[in-house]
Amino acid sequence: MGKTLFELINLLALVAIVLLPLVRKGKALFIIIIFLQLFLGSLLALHYLSFVLVYTTLIDICAVQNSFVFLVVWEIMALGTFVMVILDNHKSKTLKAGINYLIQSHIGILLLTLAFIWVKLETGSYDFNAITGFTSSLSASAGLFLFTILFMGFAIKAGFVPFHTWLPHAHPAAPAHVSGIMSGGIIKLGIYGILRMLMLVRIDMVMVGQLLLVVSVITGVYGVMLAIIQHDLKRLLAYHSIENIGIIGIGIAIGCLGIGHENPLLMATGFAGALLHTLNHSLFKSLLFYSAGNIYLARHTMNIDSLGGLLKEMPRNGYLFLIGSLAICGLPPFNGFVSEFLIYKGIISGIITSNSMSVLVILFALLGLVIIGGLALICFTKAFGIMFLGKPRGRPEPVTEDEGKSYPLILTALLILLIGLFPLLLGPTLVKVTALFGTARGVAEPYGLREAVNSSMIIGWYSLGFILLTVVIFLLRRELVAHRIVATEETWGCGYQGDNSRMSYTASSFVRTYRKLFSPLLNIHSSKEGASGLYPLSMGKETYPGDKVERWLIDKPLHLSKKLLERFSFLQNGNIQAYILYGLVFITMVILLPTIYALAASFIKILNQL
């Protein structure tokens, strides 16, 4: 049971495993290098070692069927990722982000531990299957409570709002290849965990579906809303991971509603869409991150506003980034569209078939998913347009593109196109995995499951037709304009002829209208230096995009608790005599407490007898 799901998720890990060593040229001797560097005592050795370790755990997590072992592997994965993130540990910012990640993922582990121990105490078994028996014996609300704890534990890893706050720090801090693997593989383990638990628990799935739907829509919209206003490319991509987790969550929720309402169409489109999007996201997000890494190597900055005109200098990287951008926006003919189409289809059939509360919740999801799509379009036209098109800003040194660096990216891009055009290839696997959610509940493979998934896959052919039509029109145009006069001129600047590279549109201006419109929901600090005097020399404006959820959920409580604890700082006075005193007080307390307790108990007993 559940084997195919592991295969699929393993495929995800496998893709990562295959792709990642390719990031740098000639890393076929990966392991040997690690051991060589271990001997040399290099810091990089630790980095590579944790790489291998994390890979192994990625696979192990999917194979383990025992919650105790699961926790151990999960912990190794968390620690390994931490070591990977802090490669640039001489920067305090990186270290801070790493520690932030470490603490938050341990909160997640704590929650998981609590839930698993609860099951163990009641059933006496660490086996995953014990959860099934346990939840079916529990009352409805208690079962939901158990699932909520499990969900929160996995949500921290996956990055559901409001548990996402580690993500936008860790992704930019980590080197690009780690960010790619984190976004593509590691946060997907949170999704895996949620899916696995959904297979096991026996609770009211309609309730779960509705709750999950609301959380996911908020996650998706919030992620992309913040992504737009980011200045740092990798931070932007990190927020987009949150957005995509939201989309995946919407799919899962639709699937849950399908189970709850016993509607195979909803179940099939929801789970298949979510699973496919998980795979798709790991592809285009790693493509985007690797591409970002190449930009960083060339320009040593990730600030979108100080990049420009890169397409002419690194055309391969540019077009690959474009493919990634189109795919992440869910536009045909790329893979993102296939999975989003499945989820949309689930939503529409959910609207048609379900009644009462569910319709309104699903309408909310439809609204959310559409807004996510539209906002993603703004975000990636901004990122691609400002960074790669137009003129370079400032006077950067010219770079020559290293072809070798683009091969792994090309491979990913080909996979993206393959899934986009021939999604039928994945159809049978998706059907098999989706059916598991039904068979796990004793329902045989529901009728129409295969039909529902496969009928959606025809969009691949239309996407292919679209590409062919584009090619035809392109050739037609080339024939038609072959003998026409083609001239080149400067861009039209309303008559202004001077150098206008500094007048190019910036990313901040591009999203200005959006920023104004959504400002009540965002948390942007800005500092402005206005023009003054008769001949103003400089003026400028800087905006610092913040995260409202982080501010209210993490920063404020942290600040308050710090304030509270500061009152007790006199205890830590560095005075050794005082410390000895504390020790004495502690020992006395330990010895006296049972005695006092016994006395109190006997006293109460006497009182009772009276």
Binding site: E340, M357, I371, G374, S456, Y462, V486, T491, Y505, F510
Partner: protein, 301 residues
Amino acid sequence: MVSLLLVFFVSLFFMGVVTRIRSLTSGRKGPSVMQPMWDIVRLWRKGSVYSTTTSFIFQLAPITYIASLLVAVLMVPHGSRAGLISFEGDFIMFAYLLAFGKFMMIIAALDTGSSFEGMGASREALFSMLAEPAFFILMGSFALFTGNSSFQGIFNGLYYGSHFSYMLGGLATFVLIIIAMVENSRMPVDDPKTHLELTMIHEVMILDNSGFDLGLIMYATHLKFAMYGSIIASFFIGSLPLWLSIPLTLVIQMFFAIVVGIMESFTARFRMGHNPQFIFILTSVAILIFFGVLMLLGRFM
């Protein structure tokens, strides 16, 4: 097939009618109905000027734009007769194809490195994002109403039983007309005839396009209008026989063109800052339609 031919046929003179109406309302005689199309044909026969800043994307964008639109047109039905492409959930692909074209046009505008075009691109991106939910909720409501999720199925299953459902049809027409206006950057949202680059949306995005490419982009506007007109017509023709439905479609398209012309003549462009509010009204109307359908089906709670 019928719908495809009709859309192409209507696209030839749609903008001509709009221009004619504008002329008539301002007391002029106005050019021939075919004039806008002749202008496009003239552009198709011209050479081009490309900016030195632009890359291949700038030349690719108009092609992908028109190609995406053409595939979208293939999905448009003629009442209950399906378009050439018809499958469950085709309106989702329809909207996403249009979005693809938009994506390419926006980055083509940024490709020129001009601030004007960047400004237009920024507005286009935001406004089309705001108009999108209305279309989806509208189609979602009618999917709920008819129990189908393809254009053909929806228009096939559409029946007007009570007065209430006529109201829904009216509201849907209103939403689609305004969506068409927003998508084509026409009057209350954008003024294509304005003299100042700072206040344009679509026109300023294509400042640097010329010759064949410009012709393609301009024809795309005609095609888009005809396409939306055809969808609006489908709301009314249902499964009427062809000899009735074709003239009816033409009449409805004509009516649509006249409405657009009159709206363009008698409304002023909004301030840019007011546009988002205006466009978001569409979503609220669409949600109203959705609740209306829920009520009609007795599925409320």
